[in-house]
Amino acid sequence: MSAVSGSSTVAAERERLWEVLSDPARLGAALPGVNDVSVDDSAHFSAVACPATALGETRLQMEFEILEERRGEYVRIAGSGLAGENRIELNVELSLEDAAGGGTAARWRGDVTLRGVLGSLLQRGIGSIFNEQVEAVLAAGASDGS
């Protein structure tokens, strides 16, 4: 398990970003390299995402659950799924605040677990990949519908 945390500021207003983050359909669509989103209900959705790096794309077949939310300021999401024969599990809690100079400041912390041989292979990098994906989601969320 790798513990991760990070923060970033996006240009979108908090309310608008929140709408994306709390809507499974729009959140799913904001995942990096997403191919296929299906929404089960207001708290559950699944997606096939293919985050890309210089070395190619890694196909993740994921199911997500929005576990907890406080409108406009906080959301906690759990995800689990497959990367080939490997299993991935993640938990992330995200807090939003109005940024000083406009836009939204997001802070997150969570953990990610990769089980199988990729867990060994990616042990030095899984944390940073995770952070980059959260940033990518926030960026995509911020530009969603704009």
């Binding site: 398990m1 080939g84 024969e85 490997n86 299993r87 677990t113 089980r115 199988g116 041989v117 867990g119 060994s120 292979l121 042990q123």
Partner: protein, 825 residues
């Protein structure tokens, strides 16, 4: 020799050895290996073969809710699949060697119902090519329900730890107390008692460069299952596979030619062989499997990990160490594949090289969600020998004894051999003080001490370490009864056939499975000496073949014994053939048998070498012109002579845990000079030496090569190689990128010398060797300890990464607990 005691029936030394035995002749095997003409298992193929890919559990512990192979099977080129659910029907659980509680375990060739370690096979896919099998395997849908994970070999026995095997009810596989002498008396009467909190022997493997593999064909017409595989103990594998899937040993064929290293790790591949047999039967095809390196690292076998707690050592004021008391926890991983034999094997060397009289080991074998262990070079003894060497070094440091003098004082002395240990084992011969002297010369001990003083204040700390070890060989399988009195095993043996072929060729077959030890060469050397010919005239058939060669139940290559059991069998068979040749030759020359000698491939009259018959003449007569011989003589020779070498063992005693557990005791003493960078903790080996004693050597160069190799493994393990699991049971060194195998830059040149103390118990004076006893683990720890500043924590682990050494260096300044205390009277 001491007194009148005789421990074994007298053994006659074979006087004919000498012309070639003892010479470092180049190996017969090398030509084909150097030219890439070896036949390793992955080099073999069969018509219509399919390729296997195993689907493996990413979880260390999980219930398997369902496995859906429909999508995989629908792929073009996929022949068949096999799931754990099917295995649960097709296979009976394997025979267990341990008694209850561990003996209750239900172990199968794939995960049935639940997966218990990361990498455990849960399904298999057979396809036209390896690529397609892997592609399809990714489509097998497995639903898991993750369970709690236990990875600490000691804490796993706590009540709150998740239980791996419900049928056992706890994670304790075996427990027993070995109590020799009177350690309580010793602790009460000693001048000092040294207490060490915890020592940990880490998990690693010798990782043969060739991974496990097999080509298996279940022939539907004959019902014979053919295993072409690099398993290194086929008859042991047969014993497990046969009852599990209902085939007779007579219907199992095993063969191998060249094996790319084994080191014990390839003994327990029988689980994979079982799965492959089932898959072959289901698909009606030969099936081929070559393990990938990550599969090998995660799911073949690991060496035993052992934790020693509450070590108490009674010491007299003159430095005499009376013995010790310890609680040992051996972590077997998820299944007992060769275990719990490790729980007794260590007791072949209860006092190590020392005259310890009072030893109590409270031994617990435990189960965790990690890869099952298997015998690994130095199996179960190297853990115990490391403990003993740690004890000696820590006693020296804590009580202010010179580590060299303390060893000399406590070593078993040369005049004490044969030496009976507290548990009734007989050390055959040795001279440890002389070996220690020699190894210290090789590293220039005095010079090294001067360098150590000169290095003070330079940021480099120099340490000098010593490791004394034993390589007990030719084990008595009766020791398994100390673990489980119901087991029907005892003794040991090996079989060989030496025969004369039609045109006078001498052919040797043996039941062993060589993996680089040069059996073809040394068997030719002893045969040549006995039959009076040159080794290149002797054809030793390469590799193992159950149908074509001879074998016994103990056949295989493991546990430092070939020079005794394998060559013992070859020598016996060669002597029988010699007797027949002499008999026929005497008849044909019209002479008495006592007038005959064998030389240069001829039978001749000793008094008149001109009167000679070449071996072809003998063979052609017996095989093709037999009417020329008197009927009585013709009926009494076959020129096809089998011999089984049987060491003179009796059954050890289950109650007292005493007995003669091994026949020979080779030894090695190592010394190293290391340098530690104070700022980083990085260790550099400046000088390394090994002195070896293994009785009479048949081929000294091969012996030296074995010492080099074992030293390389030990140095690798001491500094670099470790299997580390996280709390979730994920192996974090699942590739050679993170399991750093020692390279040519990591193993230094090794100064080598030897002494020779022939074994009185073997027909050639040789002792089994090759495992090496893990001497570098002790030596490197000893050297690190020697380099640490006063007040530092004791070196407590066999594996010492730069960071661990860095922490040890800094522990002195922290003035925290040191992991050791001394109580003096």
């Amino acid at each position: 020799m001491s007194g009148e005691t005789t421990y074994y029936p007298a053994v006659e030394q074979n006087e004919r050895l000498g012309a070639y035995s003892g010479q470092s002749i180049p190996r017969v095997e090398d030509k084909r290996l150097l030219k890439g003409q070896g036949a390793f298992v992955d080099d073999l193929w069969m018509h219509r073969q399919g390729h296997v890919h195993f689907v493996r559990s990413p979880y260390a512990h999980a219930r398997i809710v369902s496995i859906d192979v429909a999508r995989a099977e629908a792929q073009p080129g996929v022949y068949a699949t096999l799931t754990g659910e099917e295995v649960g029907v097709l296979q009976q659980p394997y025979f267990q060697m341990g008694p209850e509680p561990g003996g209750l375990m239900k172990d199968y060739c794939m995960a049935v119902g639940k997966a218990r370690y990361m990498g455990e096979p849960v399904a298999a896919v057979l396809a036209e090519s390896a690529e397609l099998a892997r592609d399809a395997a990714a489509l097998v849908e497995v639903v898991y329900e993750p369970l709690g994970v236990t990875v600490d070999g000691v804490a796993t026995i706590e009540a709150d730890a998740p239980v791996l095997h419900e049928e056992i009810g706890s994670n304790v596989a075996w427990q027993g107390v070995y109590d020799y002498g009177d350690v309580d008396w010793a602790l009460e009467n000693a001048d000092h008692v040294v207490r060490i909190d915890r020592l940990h022997f880490h998990r690693f493997s010798s990782t043969p460069l060739e991974t496990t593999g097999a080509l298996v064909n279940w022939d539907p017409g004959t019902g014979v299952v053919e295993f072409r595989t690099n398993n290194q103990m086929p008859m042991f594998a047969a014993m497990f596979i046969g009852p599990a899937i209902g085939i007779g040993v007579d219907h199992m064929q095993f063969s191998s030619q060249d094996i790319g290293g084994g080191f014990g790790i390839k003994i327990t591949s029988y689980t994979y062989l079982t799965a492959l047999a089932l898959l072959s039967r289901k698909a009606g095809r030969p099936v081929k499997w070559s393990e990938s390196r990550w599969e090998h690292l995660a799911a073949s076998a690991h060496g035993n990990e052992r934790t020693f707690l509450d070590v108490e050592v009674p010491v007299m004021s003159d430095g005499t160490i009376l013995g010790f008391k310890v609680r040992a926890f051996d972590d077997a991983g998820a299944y007992l594949r060769y275990e719990p034999l490790g729980a007794v094997i260590w007791s072949q060397v209860v006092p190590g090289n020392y005259r310890f009289k009072h030893v109590r080991v409270d031994y617990t074998e435990t189960l965790t969600n990690k890869c099952p262990v298997g015998p690994n070079r130095g199996y179960s003894r190297l853990q115990h020998l490391w403990l003993i060497e740690r004890i000696v070094d820590i006693v020296a440091k804590e009580l202010g004894f010179d580590p060299v003098e303390l060893r000399k004082l406590n070593y078993i002395q040369p005049e004490e051999f044969p030496y009976e240990t507290p548990n009734g084992c007989i050390y055959d011969s040795g001279d440890y003080p002389a070996m220690l002297e020699r190894v210290l010369e090789l590293i220039d001990y005095r010079g090294a001490r001067e360098r150590q003083r000169a290095a003070a204040g330079t940021g480099r700390r120099i340490g000098i370490g010593i490791g004394s070890t034993l390589d007990s060989g030719t084990n008595n399988f009766g020791q398994s009864r100390i673990i489980n009195s119901a087991l029907p095993f005892s003794g040991n043996g090996e079989a060989a056939v030496v025969r004369l072929d039609l045109y006078g060729e001498v052919t040797v077959t043996i039941g062993t499975t060589p993996q680089g030890q040069g059996h073809e060469t040394t068997a030719a050397q002893v045969t040549a000496d006995i039959l009076g010919m040159s080794p290149d005239q002797v054809h030793v058939v390469a590799g193992y073949n159950k149908a074509a060669n001879t074998y016994v139940g103990f056949s295989g290559t493991y546990a430092s014994q070939f020079a005794v059991t394998g060559l013992g069998a070859v020598m016996g068979a060669a002597e029988k053939l010699r007797g027949e040749i002499v008999k026929v030759g005497a008849c044909m020359l019209g002479a008495e048998e006592s007038d005959i000698e064998l030389a240069g491939g001829f039978v001749r009259l000793a008094a008149n070498p001109e009167a000679a018959i070449p071996f072809i003449g003998i063979a052609a007569t017996v095989f093709a012109n037999v009417a020329e011989l008197p009927g009585e003589l013709a009926d009494s020779v076959t020129l096809n002579c089998r011999h089984v070498y049987r060491p003179p063992f009796t059954v050890p005693d289950h109650e007292t845990k005493r007995g003669k557990l091994t026949l020979t005791y080779a030894s090695q003493i190592h010394a190293a000079v290391i340098e530690i960078d104070e700022e980083t903790g990085q260790v550099k080996i400046l000088d390394y030496a090994a002195v070896d004693e293994c009785g009479r050597k048949i081929n000294p160069k091969i012996v030296e090569g074995q010492v080099h190799g074992a030293t390389g493994h030990g140095i690798g393990a001491a500094l670099y190689e470790t299997f580390e699991y996280d709390a979730d049971g994920q192996l974090r060194n699942a590739t050679f990128m993170d399991y750093h195998v020692a390279t040519a830059l990591d193993v230094p040149d090794i100064r080598y010398d030897d002494i020779e103390c022939p074994s009185p118990f073997t027909p050639n004076g040789a002792k089994g060797m090759g495992e090496g006893g893990g001497a570098p683990l002790s030596t490197i720890c000893s050297a690190i300890e020697d380099a640490l500043p006063d007040g530092a924590h004791v070196v407590f682990d066999t594996h010492n990464s730069s960071e661990r050494v860095y922490d040890l260096l800094r522990s002195a300044a922290a003035q925290g607990p040191r992991g050791v205390e001394v109580v003096s009277r």
